[in-house]
């Protein structure tokens, strides 16, 4: 992972010499795109490996005020040259990790039949729902970097938790294409972490190992780095590369539920798009 960080740092240093793009869209505009290629989505939850994908769809719509960008919908309250404020709603990312099916947590002691309480040898099934979080986002737009701050709260009553984002993003021209990067810090409060990353008493049953590893209820602070590059081949076709590296704070998370403290997801492919957005 250190090597990946070094590569990303080198790329970011290279970008200092590239020109920032006037990243604006004349509205109304929409774009529907499908990328075909190969990618890997790494899931940090227990028992989840790397999920391979061959398609990556994308959709965006920007109206006078309302916009959709993939899974995010928003309403623009203020739009100036140097900053904008939106009200945003989006699915919480932790819930998405559970979408690929139930998570099965295996306890080593019970697997080996060493549980002093005679716990069940069967792996336990953990199910969690996807929540929609919503709230304000404020972004300061400058030449070298856009700085965003968001506060989102669960509006679906799934966990009643909230998350706070601070991120740095920018898109530049590079080698005839466009490269965009993002660095972010996300704080998730104890209610959210408790719902997604601590086990219920009923789930742990009499399994001492699961009880032993149950963390104190606490908030977490995760980090991510995102990098993508698009190189136009024709008017509607472009080469697309995207990668996202996540580093998770494991302190408030049950070690047998959340196996990986780092994940790397990526996609490389050819994207075909239609729409009025350029």
């Amino acid at each position: 992972m250190c090597r990946i960080l070094k590569i990303i740092t080198t790329l970011l240093a290279l970008l200092a010499h590239a020109g920032a793009m006037a990243d604006e869209i004349s509205v109304p505009a929409w774009k529907l795109a499908v990328a075909s290629g190969r990618g890997v989505l790494e899931n940090p939850l227990a028992g989840r490996g790397k999920q391979e994908t061959f398609l990556l769809p994308a959709f965006s719509y920007y109206g006078e005020r309302f916009f959709i960008s993939n899974l995010t919908a928003g309403y623009n309250l203020v739009e100036e040259d140097s900053f904008y404020i939106d009200l945003v709603a989006r699915p919480n990312e932790d819930g998405l990790y559970y979408l690929a099916g139930d998570v099965r947590v295996v306890s080593l002691t019970s697997l080996l039949g060493l549980d002093p309480y005679g716990g069940d040898n069967e792996p336990i099934k953990v199910e969690r729902n996807v929540s929609i979080v919503a709230g304000p986002n404020a972004t300061l737009v400058t030449d070298p970097v856009d700085i965003s701050f968001s506060y989102f709260h669960d509006i679906t009553g799934v966990h009643n938790g909230s998350e706070t984002h601070l991120s740095f993003n920018k898109r530049y021209r590079l080698f005839g294409g466009a490269i965009s990067w993002g660095l972010g810090v996300v704080n998730k409060d104890a209610d959210l972490v408790d719902y997604y990353y601590r086990l219920r008493d009923t789930e742990m049953g009499f399994n001492s190992s699961l009880w032993f590893n149950q963390p104190e209820q606490d908030d977490v602070t995760d980090h991510y780095t995102r990098l993508s590059y698009a190189y136009p081949l024709t008017k509607n076709v472009e080469l697309r590369l995207a990668a996202k590296y996540n580093r998770f704070d494991m302190d408030g998370r049950h070690a047998q539920l959340m196996e990986k403290s780092e994940t790397l997801s990526w996609f490389v492919g050819i994207q075909y798009s239609i729409g009025s957005e350029q």
């Binding site: 004349s26 920007y62 739009e79 945003v88 699915p91 990312e93």
Partner: protein
């Protein structure tokens, strides 16, 4: 050499001054919202020429508006309804030769928005 160049420029100026004709359209730009189908606007057309010949004002692609005598400034108030740029032209009535042109530009206003950085979440 300098004197010759000055004489040449002076000669051009005098020659131009003899046939000076000017056509102005005010305003020269009509800005409409992207969802508006056309620009509807009153415009002032001002033509001036030292030549006392008869001239005709027309809109390119639409036809004749009016003919009038030159030698004095002429001002017309028109109401324009157009989807695209409108080209006004003044021609000599007898020869049909172009004397002056001016245009009313129709510009569609499309507000701009910063591109958002909300990704897929997982990628």
């Amino acid at each position: 050499m300098k004197t010759r160049l000055s004489c040449l420029l002076l000669a051009l100026c005098v020659s131009n001054a003899g046939n000076a004709a000017e056509l102005r359209v005010t305003p020269s730009l009509c800005a409409i919202n992207d969802d508006d189908s056309r620009c509807d606007i009153p415009v002032k057309v001002l033509f001036s020429s030292d030549d006392p010949a008869r001239f005709c004002l027309s809109i390119s692609g639409r036809g004749l508006i009016r003919c009038f005598d030159g030698g004095a400034a002429r001002e017309l108030q028109l109401y324009v309804s157009a989807e695209e740029d409108v080209l006004f032209r003044v021609t000599e009535e007898v020869s049909g030769k172009d004397v002056a042109t001016a245009s009313l530009k129709v510009a569609r206003y499309r507000p701009k928005r910063h591109r958002r950085h909300y990704g897929w979440g997982l990628l």
